[in-house]
Structures are given as C-alpha cells and as structure tokens.
Symmetry: C2
Subunit: 385 residues, 2 copies
Amino acid sequence: MLNFDYYNPTRIVFGQGSIAQLDALVPADARVLILYGGGSAERNGTLAEVEAALGQRNVQRFGGIEPNPAYETLMDAVALVRRERIDFLLAVGGGSVIDGTKFVAAAAGHEGDPWSILETHGQNVSGALPLGCVLTLPATGSEMNCFSVVTRKSIQAKLGFSSPLVFPRFSVLDPVKTYSLPPRQIANGAVDAFVHVMEQYLTYPVNAPVQDRYAESLLQTLIEIGPQALANPQDYDVRANLMWAASQALNGLIGAGVPQDWATHMIGHEITALYGLDHAQTLAIVLPTLMHQRRDVKHDKLLQYAARVWNIHSGSADERIDAAIAKTRSFFESLGVKTRFSDYGIGAEAIDRIVAQLEAHGMTGIGERREIDLAFSRRILEACL
Amino acid sequence: MLNFDYYNPTRIVFGQGSIAQLDALVPADARVLILYGGGSAERNGTLAEVEAALGQRNVQRFGGIEPNPAYETLMDAVALVRRERIDFLLAVGGGSVIDGTKFVAAAAGHEGDPWSILETHGQNVSGALPLGCVLTLPATGSEMNCFSVVTRKSIQAKLGFSSPLVFPRFSVLDPVKTYSLPPRQIANGAVDAFVHVMEQYLTYPVNAPVQDRYAESLLQTLIEIGPQALANPQDYDVRANLMWAASQALNGLIGAGVPQDWATHMIGHEITALYGLDHAQTLAIVLPTLMHQRRDVKHDKLLQYAARVWNIHSGSADERIDAAIAKTRSFFESLGVKTRFSDYGIGAEAIDRIVAQLEAHGMTGIGERREIDLAFSRRILEACL
C-alpha cells in the first residue's frame, strides 16, 4: 500500500424527506445564494421545497449554470455574491452545479484574476465561502469531494481545481429527487461513476485488498443497478443505491493508498471542450480503448477485474482481458451510451485538434505512471474512431 | 436502504514515517498532553519519536492508561489537564488509550459530575478539547470514530459514550509501529475488527448492496490477513492492510443506512467488567453462539455471509448456516482466541451475575430489532459455556 492522507469532512444527509433538514444544516443568520442549473429544479418543485426548508433566511437565486459549467456564467454569480454580501452558497443540482458553486465559493473572495484558480489547479486558493449541496443527479461525486471542473468557452478550455476549502459542509441526498431525471442523465451518471472507480482501480497492484474490494463493490453494484435505474425510474432502493455508489466512487476513499490513472478523464475533457459531448459519453469512448492499448501495463489488474467483477475465469489471460474489455463496452452500450467517435459523427480530423489541446494544457505525461505521452494519446484516439 | 446521517471529519495520515507529520498537524502554540498506556510506547521509542516531531512545543506526558481504560485513572488525567491548562490531547497507543483520551477531552471542561457523560452516553457533552492520535494497535477503530468506552472499576461498570466533538482531528497510522506488538494483541485486534463488521452486517437485508459488499470486503480481508499478521509480524503490507481494515470496520461508513446489532458487544462488555477478559475474547465467545441462537431472524444475511464471505454454496440452508458459523468460530480459534467460557475458567455460576449486570445497565432489549431481552441473553450465555 502507498502512503496516503485521507480527509473528507462532508456530512451526508441521506434519504427520502431529508431536504427538510436544511433548516438545521444552514446557519440561521446566513445570507444564502441558491445556485442551480436549468429550469427542472424550478419545475419539479425542488427549489420551492428548499426555500421552504430555509424559512425566514435571506435567500436569493442564481439559475442557468449549464452542463460543463462555464467560467463566464460563474463569474456572473461571483459578482452577485459580492454585491449582495452572500455568506452561504447552496448548490441545488448535479455535478455541474456543484462544481460551479465550488468555483464561486473560491472566487468570491479571491484577490487577482479568478481564472488563476484553475490555472494553478487550486494551489492559490486561500479562502472560500461555506457551501452545501442538495444533490438531484447521481454521477460525479462532487457532492462529497473537493474537486471542481470548469469550462471557459471563449478559449475552449476545461480545467479542474481542488482545495480542501471547497468540501461541501453537507450534502443532502434524497433519491426521490432523481425520479424525474431523463434516462440519458441516469445513464451518463452510471457511466461516470463507473469510470471514476476504474481510474482509481485499474492500474497496477500495490497489495491494497480493502481498496481493491471496495472498488469492485462499487463496480458490481453499478453493473447491477444501472439497467434497473433506467427500467424502473421510481424504484426508491435502486435510485438510493445508485446515488450512494456514485458518491462513494469519488470521495477519496477508494483511491487512498493506491495509484491512480485519470488519463481517460484528461482526454475526455478535451473532447467535451472541443465537441460538446456529454462528459460520460467521452469516458465511454476512451476507457475501453485505453484498456486495450494499455493492456500490458495494466495486465494484472485487468485479470483481477475480469475475474472478480465479471466472473470471467476461463480462457487464456489475453482472452479473459479481451472478454472483460468487451463486457465493459457492452455495459456502457446497454445503458444507451455509445462508445465510438463515429457514433457521435466525429471523424479522424478531430484527432489533431484533441492532441493539440492536450499539449496546450500540459497533458504530455498522463496515466498512473505518467507515461502516456502525446503520441500514445494519439494512438488511443485513433483506436476510438 | 434506511435514511442516514454520515459525518466523519478525522484526517488519516497513513504510512511508514508519518509520525514526522505531527509537526504540521498539531497547532504550533499548543500545550500538549501525550496520553499513553503501559511502558511499551516508551520502550520501543515511539514516545521519543512523537516528542521529537513536536519540537519546541510545551509537551507533557500522562502514562498508565490501562486496557479497558479506568474512569479513576482518566480523572487523574483530567486533573492534570486542568492544572496545566493543556489545550491539545495526543493519544499514543491503541483503542483503550484513544477511548480514554476522548473521555478526558470531554470531561476536562465539563461542569458537574464527569461520570454523567457516560450515564447519558454523551448526550450532555457540550465541548471537548481537540485531540489527535498516533495509533500503535489496529483493532477498535477508535482512531476514526467518535465513540469511547470507559470502565469504572469501583462499580464494575463498562459504559460507552459518543459525541461528534470527540472525533480525532487527525490520526497517524504507521504500520511499522505494530511490528513489536505481542501476538495476543494482534489476534485480539483482528477479532475485534471482524466483530465490528459483523455487528453492522449480519442483521437483515435492506437492499443496501454497497454497504453489504464493503462489509464483505473487510471480512474477506481480515480472514486473509489475520493469520499472516501473526505469522509474519514484519510484513509491512499485511500490517498496513490490517490497520486500514480495522479503521474502516468502525468509522461509520459500513453502518450508514443499514440496521445494526451490537448485542455481542453489550453482552461482552459485562463479561469484561466482571471477569476481566480481553474485549476481543468476550466477542469471540458471544458472537458464534449469538449467530446460532438468532439464526431465524438473521437467516437471509447468514446465507449471504456463507456464500459471499466463506464461499459456501452447497447443502441445505441450515447446513450452509451451520458451516458459516463453524468457519467463524474456527477463524477466531485459528488466531488463538478461544470461543468458550470454559476455555477461560468461567462456569455456569457466571450467568446470573452477567444477566444481573445487563439488567442494571438497561440492556433489556438489544440487537437489531431490540428483541433480545434478559431471558434471551441468558439463553445465549448458557450456550456459550
């Protein structure tokens, strides 16, 4: 096992009816800004329910945070926070709203150019407004971690930052709030959570059986419940388990003490920034191909994954690895998330552009051993066509 | 899944050499009291290493916290803390030292009788000194939770309390520090961690696959590494995995959203208070018998445990359950922890005394459905002879 430092102070308030607990969770004298995305939180009554729970507090709203939250939009929220002397942020939505809210929390009191928060990946964050979350979309794990990814549309850049100062103080997870989500968002969420686990699991063995088995627990659960979540949108337990699995997939726990990859995400971010694909779609394209191209360095873990997650025990090592990769790809496809560039109308001309963006963002040595250079990224991308 | 509230702000600093990080973890101007147990922390150099890391801080020592930490001893530490205006407590040891330190933290500023902290199980704790831990014995999980158990020798009572105010600010886990432990303590630690998991797992199904699989992950890992930890005391990875599994076993995670039992612990505490057996010894006596006596209400989970943890798939349901219970008992015995009262020289005359203590401490309806009354506890105890 590798040495590690694990810290996660986010309180999780989980279950049906838990939005009512906001009154106890948000300071009584807070000046609150509710941040949210499109109109669904408004239409389905969640915003009203949140505001009712907040009672007599001074509460304002900021809507319109888009998927892959835009720096430009978030800076409008920063201006509002400063103008209105807001002192508590409440994100109501999914990963994009929560990521955006984390950026607003860090940027509101930041001296100098807020874009530098992203350029330094959070190194220069020295303070942040307190924030809480009401999660409505299980996927990114942002409700229980200190990571955030922001897109600057004007320069087609998608960059992340992290800081312990932007851990949510609490996150309220009510599975009922996911019932009205479109199937595409549920499918994307399951794929996103699955790939989060894989980034922390499918590297090389370091004799960390608890972390390995925890990761396999999440993968097995997602494989079980992903299709059920689509088939039975109002099955409370299925939605509850999807929500909890997605939070667990990226809260720091399964990655503590083990190597981590994240090359799929790094490449995927560039695809979204250039072509606007959903985050999960990019992961579904890149991961199976990356598994294939990196089968030599991931050999031992690929075999473990085949055996323990997919119950594949027969055939040569290569055959078992092939079967496990094929299972992974069909799992994504079975949820309706396509796994080839061609499925999205993207051709070979995209590859130069994506590689150029990887270079521009310093992604010249990625993966668990930092050995995926631009030439190797190109090889992966070519195999994704 | 049941509704839940999960919160665990303890930072874990894990790995070889991590004691050196104390300098960054303890406030620079702190007046520190190091609390420890017998002389082993002194003899093996851990105390000196801790003090060296703390540098120029004002540091004092309080040694002699015994296994099953005594209220009487801890009140001496409380007096020292008050006299010397200590403002940071650092526990160096295992679960008893950490439990004791949590009590000192809560009692130091407590107005009124500190025993009331235990009588109210922590309900009346309104403040606590900050505390950190240097763990030297993997077992209880106290390094990553807000629970504490204290024994008052004068009245043979062993009572617990919990309060979010006594979560350690940090815990330093260096597996190397466990190399010199006596085999009995390693064996006890593995049994203790195993039973902690079972208390949160072996109840009845509530469709919580992540929690179930996490619990099974820990059980399988403990079964694998328990014997190795005894056979190869200086195998770093084995000790690291034992340490991490034991912390995970009782940090609130696997018990979030599922029913919990704890009857084995409630009965075991009375045995320790009356007869001085090691905590883990009492658990090893009670658990297998309780599994047998409660096989009707635990039926579904017993079958799941048999299949997933012990790979028992053949035979009737009753046969598989019997086999799983027998495997559990032999696992404890294989570590050298005996599982019968008679192994410890305790006879039938003990039963009236234990039942009387359970009654005196209000343990008249325990277990996951609160249906183990005194008569049923007696039945379990009789079957432990």
